[in-house]
Symmetry: C2
């Protein structure tokens, strides 16, 4: 999800062996791998586990296929705002590092971004939510 | 690549079995599968083969990984403008259909789009190239 509090954007860095990157910058995200959990519930769980935040406002931005030529992976992007502290037991990979970025640096982050879902989410914010 | 002539955006539809879509809307694109061919040469070849156009102006927009959690696929996005007719022998899949969209419909196309590289390219156009 794209999570921000009006001033700060919350991203993560984590190692991504398939592309040989030790610290790829990405949106907080997770797989729909818990039984009966829908995409929004997954996003809420991951925001708490990875960033230690909850959000009072959730808005669906878009859904898309990451690599429709050879994979069926689908990605759902939400905007999470009106954040509050909400920690959760992180059963996640401990190699995830939280990265706080000023929203004023959004264009720079987009220029440097190398992950498809993150580009879609941040470009959507840049294109359609100028009052961020 | 994002290819437009100032009024019309040139996209394609093609069947994508992995996601069970008989006509997924995408940017014209191709794999770097010809020996010694770089990403820009691939884009030029695909624009001619899929759309029947050449472009006098090419601009690199970005590169990114489509699914860095499990695949090493990298995607390079170019902007192709100042178009002219230039057909090429299409050794491509004949199931590709050209879709011409007015640039004034860009926001609607983005809302409907389900392909990651296409969303990145069109959102980049929407966010950073307002004088399109």
């Amino acid at each position: 999800m794209v999570a921000h509090d009006g001033e700060t954007l919350f991203l993560v860095r984590q190692p991504r062996e398939p592309v040989n990157d030790p610290a790829l910058l990405e949106l907080p995200a997770g797989k729909l791998d818990e039984e009966g959990e829908d995409a929004l519930d997954t996003a809420k769980r991951e925001l708490a586990e990875e960033i230690g935040k909850g959000a009072r406002t959730w808005r669906k931005l878009t859904s898309f296929y990451t690599s429709p030529g050879f994979a069926d992976e689908e990605c759902h992007i939400y905007l999470a705002t009106d954040l509050f502290d909400q920690s959760a037991e992180a059963i996640e990979d401990e190699r995830i590092e939280i990265v706080e970025v000023p929203l004023s640096d959004l264009d720079h982050v987009i220029q440097e971004c190398r992950d498809s879902k993150t580009l879609v989410g941040l470009l959507w914010l840049r294109a359609f939510l100028p009052s961020r």
